[in-house]
């Protein structure tokens, strides 16, 4: 392995690692606020990528129907909850607006935009708008009803959601893979290394997204409220933060980040309806290194995962996945030892 290959693998690893970092951060965010280990984060990435690639290809993405369906389901849950506690017209109208009117409006807009020759900018915004609401809808339907259940029940639910989303991905997007055109045709020569514009875009967007999340959590009341919910759920409720809203917000942010990651990787690799799972799990490895709690540690670990993956696919491409996933085990053991599970007796 000479220096150029080394550099090339390093760059490849960092590019993938940047996307895993976004994923890992989204997974940490959801876990911290809701205790849900969100296995299907990768599906949101795949949906984002597929949506963007299809829009770029001038086709109507199945996401519109998916969002519409999940919105209707979320409304059904709100309605049922409302019927059992006494109807609150104001709440219900608000819910209808967010779960029925919004996806309908998105459908109309997408019909107008798809194939009408708009540029990547519009397609990116539309992709984000289509995928982001899925987060809160999924939270409403699958997780909010059992919000106080054990982490394990939430994890099994997450696995169920993963199964359903992969299947729905096939239904709404079909089995064929798609790839979007690069976001930038530029190439940069750095010594022996050719850095593609797409890689630069990935680095820039990842850094910007991390910066924006930092600003949100450190400088805004809502961000602080989310953080507070993560630190102490009961304390958050006692100051009047609705944990269900915090949960929906966390899922919304995670879906936004997922869609963004999808747009970033759509030009890099061919995406199928079920590609998301493996990508998402790599974000997971990073999130677990960060103990599902630390954002910076997660980001660093994600870069490491990307690099390990790049090198193992060069050295033993068949065993790439085996190596990456077996890496979790020592990490888990280390985490278990450093955060021993204590049974408090006070």
């Amino acid at each position: 392995m000479d220096g150029t290959i080394l550099l090339f693998l390093l760059q490849d690893g960092i590019t993938n690692g940047a996307v895993y970092a976004l994923l890992g951060i989204a997974i940490v965010l959801i876990f911290a606020v809701t205790r849900v280990i969100f296995i299907p984060q990768g599906e949101l990435v795949a949906f984002g990528a597929l949506t963007y690639a299809l829009l770029e290809a001038g086709r109507l993405p199945g996401t519109v129907w998916l969002t519409l369906a999940f919105g209707a389901l979320a409304f059904a849950f709100d309605l049922a909850a409302s019927l059992s506690t006494g109807i609150d017209a104001r709440k219900l109208t608000r819910s209808a607006g967010l779960t029925l009117a919004l996806p309908a409006a998105l459908l109309a807009v997408t019909y107008g935009v798809a194939g009408a020759g708009f540029g990547p900018g519009v397609h990116i915004l539309l992709t984000l708008a289509l995928v982001t609401p899925l987060g809160p809808y999924i939270y409403r339907v699958a997780f909010q009803p059992i919000a106080s259940a054990s982490i394990l029940a939430l994890l099994i639910t997450a696995v169920g959601v993963h199964l359903a989303l992969v299947g729905l991905g096939l239904v709404f997007f079909g089995a064929e893979g798609v790839r979007a055109p690069s976001l930038s045709e530029l190439t940069l020569e750095l010594g022996p290394l050719l850095v593609s514009g797409q890689s630069l875009v990935i680095y820039a967007v990842t850094l910007l997204a991390i910066g924006a999340l930092w600003f949100f959590f450190e400088r805004t009341l809502w961000g602080k409220a989310l953080k507070a919910t993560a630190v102490n759920r009961l304390g958050a409720r006692l100051v009047g933060i609705r944990t269900t809203f915090a949960g929906a917000l966390a899922f919304g942010l995670a879906a936004l980040v997922g869609a963004l990651s999808g747009i970033l990787i759509a030009p890099v690799t061919t995406i199928y309806y079920d590609t998301g799972f493996l990508i998402g799990l790599k974000g997971f490895v990073a999130a677990i290194v960060g103990a599902l709690a630390s954002y910076p540690l997660t980001a660093v670990a994600a870069l490491a995962v990307g690099i390990v993956e790049a090198f193992s696919s060069f050295v033993a491409s068949d065993l790439k996945e085996v190596i990456v996933f077996m890496l979790i085990i020592p990490v888990l053991v280390w985490r278990s030892l450093t955060q021993p599970h204590v049974e408090e007796e006070d």
Partner: protein, 640 residues
């Protein structure tokens, strides 16, 4: 049967900072996550009641039906094949029931162990020409060894790290199966010979049916025996947290590994059968989706229920078959919706019926009352120790620091033989920490603990229990679903000997009878005979504390450590408890107790140690403590 979580969640408003979330390793049906959970609804006991049914009769009836089924004319071949598939899945689900439902360890990776069994026999029969029967021990050995290696790593994982770990190695092994040349890479191995008996190939599903279901029923019986034994109680004690078990000498890590390997062996057995039934092995049935399906079966059937495994396997397998037939007709070919349906069902199941299907079926029969165990020969008592000159228990300059905080600061005191000593002090004074230092739950920062003249500083709880120190807990740690009798029998764990094999083969009955007899005697001794067969969780909190005392007595201890034994007791019950402790003292037992009820303490104890802010501020006989100005100040605060 909902478990009243009060026993384990005595402190309702505990913040749930996610990184330190409590042990939620157990499966949903019995883990009430917190005070606001809605999963405390109980199983509706159907009005329809069938006559009582002994499990052995139920199994015999089921076995008879299975035996007759292939002979019934008109039963189509595909139905027999389907039932065979149910049997194969039920074996894996049975292991998961034990692992997840009983032991509290969730695994998404069981399908990989099927893979070990299947690939082992596939390679040995096709490449090396072994007979299918001869490969069974090797298949089990391979699956078992893999389980030992993965288990050593996995069972140590805490909380939700454990299921994530299984997910990780589940995926890794799936890819590994598809990568290795010897396993035929992605094409797998075909042309595997069928089972054959005396030259007759068992290629007809009707004959293989007997082999499959014979093994399923055999495994179910062995598993049932295992659960209803000394080892079974230890396994069942795991899911409620390890501390209680360890305090009675159970090696929790080893027990977990045993369960893990047992579940893997059942999966390996299923894989071995599968290879010779389908005669082709590829990586697909051993991937993570299959692992999720097996877990789904266990949860759907009712995790923790042996019959639930069969019911869950049956429902999922039939549903899958039906979906594969129906959905393409409705939605057109090429669209596989069964994953969607499974996913939605799994999500829905956790929302509406987390306890699974079996408890609802079981509710059709009246609750089966087990008889009070007959009197059995008493267990051997602990030999009298050579009484050294030192006091029984000596705490010498014990210090415990947590970061910058000193919870226990240079505390020294002693408990003499046949003495009742009380540790008192305001909340947060360090009493419970002191208890944990003595019982090995927490390690001392500096200082020493000596018992019978022996240095026990830093010894683990199991070792402390072996030496004859038994304890109760401030927050009751009983298994609420187990009967009072079984909970107390857990206390006598170290006095029995039967192991896993003996339990499965029912060679443990004499040992078991003596353990239960001892438990019965201790329950009668503390005056709870009428509650002996009730689930421990159904008793009032005060009575549960007394059950804990009976459990401690079953250890045949030299020293009893009681953490707030009188809390929650009514006046008469407190008097009875005091009388019991006095009679124990008269028989030479030593007692160290933490208690808030001053009336109780003053009238009972020989010696009192007062802690405040982790420091001993006074000790002496009750009369002296009552009038000690420092004690009065600590108790009444500076506001008086």
């Amino acid at each position: 049967m909902t478990s009243p979580p009060a026993a384990t969640h005595a402190q309702p408003l505990r913040s749930e900072a996610p990184m330190t979330a409590r042990s939620e390793a157990a499966l949903p049906p019995t883990t009430a996550g917190g005070p606001q959970t809605e999963d405390q609804r109980s199983i509706p006991r159907g009005r329809l009641k069938l006559p009582p049914l002994e499990p052995c009769i139920a199994i015999a009836v089921f076995a008879a039906i299975m035996a007759v089924l292939p002979l019934v004319p008109g039963v189509p071949l595909f139905a027999i094949t389907l039932i065979g598939n149910i049997g194969l899945a039920a074996l894996v689900a049975l292991g998961l029931v034990l692992l997840t439902g009983v032991g509290g360890m969730t695994s998404f990776g069981q399908a990989a162990f099927c893979g070990f069994g299947a690939y082992t026999t596939a390679v040995l029969t096709t490449t090396y020409g072994w007979s299918p029967w001869a490969t069974l021990p090797v298949a089990l050995l391979v699956a078992g060894s893999a389980a030992v290696v993965l288990g050593l790593l996995t069972v140590r994982l805490s909380g939700h790290f454990l299921p994530l770990g299984t997910l990780a190695w589940g995926i890794s092994l799936y890819y590994l199966f598809g990568t290795l040349d010897i396993l035929g890479r992605h094409d797998g191995i075909s042309g595997i010979p069928p089972f054959s008996i005396a030259g007759h190939d068992l290629t007809d599903p009707r004959t293989v049916h007997y082999l499959i279901w014979g093994l399923v029923i055999g495994a179910a019986i062995l598993t049932m025996h295992l659960l209803d034994s000394r080892v079974g109680r230890a396994i069942r004690a795991l899911r409620r947290g390890q501390l209680a078990g360890e305090s009675f000498g159970i090696d929790a890590a080893r027990m977990k590994l045993v369960v893990f390997v047992y579940a893997a062996l059942l999966a390996g057995l299923s894989g071995w059968l599968y290879a010779h039934v389908t005669r082709t092995v590829t990586q697909t049935p051993f991937g993570i989706n299959a692992g999720i399906e097996y877990l789904f079966m266990a949860v759907l059937g009712g995790a923790g229920q042996i019959f639930g495994a069969v019911v869950g396997a049956g429902l999922v397998t039939v549903l899958k078959e039906a979906l594969q037939r129906v959905l393409p007709q409705v939605f057109g070919h090429g669209v596989q919706l069964e994953a969607v349906v499974f996913g939605i069902l799994l999500v829905g199941l956790l929302q509406v019926a987390r306890e699974g299907v079996w408890p609802h079926i079981a509710a059709l029969w009246p609750a089966r009352g087990r008889p009070v165990p007959p009197d059995a020969p008493a267990l051997a008592r602990r030999g009298a120790s050579a009484a050294p000159s030192e006091k029984l228990l000596v705490l010498d300059g014990a210090v415990k620091k947590y970061g910058g905080l000193t919870a226990v600061n240079a505390v020294s005191f002693a408990v003499g033989r046949g003495e009742i000593v009380a540790l008192i002090g305001p909340n947060g004074a360090g009493k419970s920490t002191t208890f944990n230092l003595i019982t090995g739950v927490t390690r001392l920062t500096t200082g020493a603990v000596r018992f019978e003249g022996m240095d026990i500083t830093g010894a683990p709880p199991q070792e402390i229990a072996r030496l004859g120190i038994a304890r109760t807990f401030q927050h009751v740690k009983l298994n609420p679903e187990m009967s009072v009798l079984e909970n107390v029998a857990l206390g006598a764990h170290l006095r029995g000997h039967a192991g896993v094999l003996a339990s499965m083969l029912r060679l443990d009955r004499r040992d078991e009878a003596r353990l239960l007899g001892e438990a019965r005697r201790q329950i009668e001794r503390v005056g709870l005979a009428e509650h002996m067969l009730k689930p421990a969780g159904s008793l009032a909190l005060g009575q549960q504390r007394v059950v804990e005392i009976a459990r401690a007595l079953a250890l045949d201890p030299v020293l009893l450590l009681l953490d707030e034994p009188a809390a929650g007791l009514r006046h008469k019950e407190k008097e009875a408890l005091a009388a019991l402790l006095r009679s124990l003292r008269a028989q030479g037992m030593s007692v160290l107790l933490v208690e808030h009820d001053m009336g109780f303490v003053m009238g009972l104890t020989d010696h009192i140690v007062v802690l405040d802010f982790g420091t001993k501020i006074a000790e002496g006989p009750p009369a002296a403590i009552k009038t000690n100005p420092q004690v009065l100040e600590a108790y009444l605060g500076g506001v008086a």
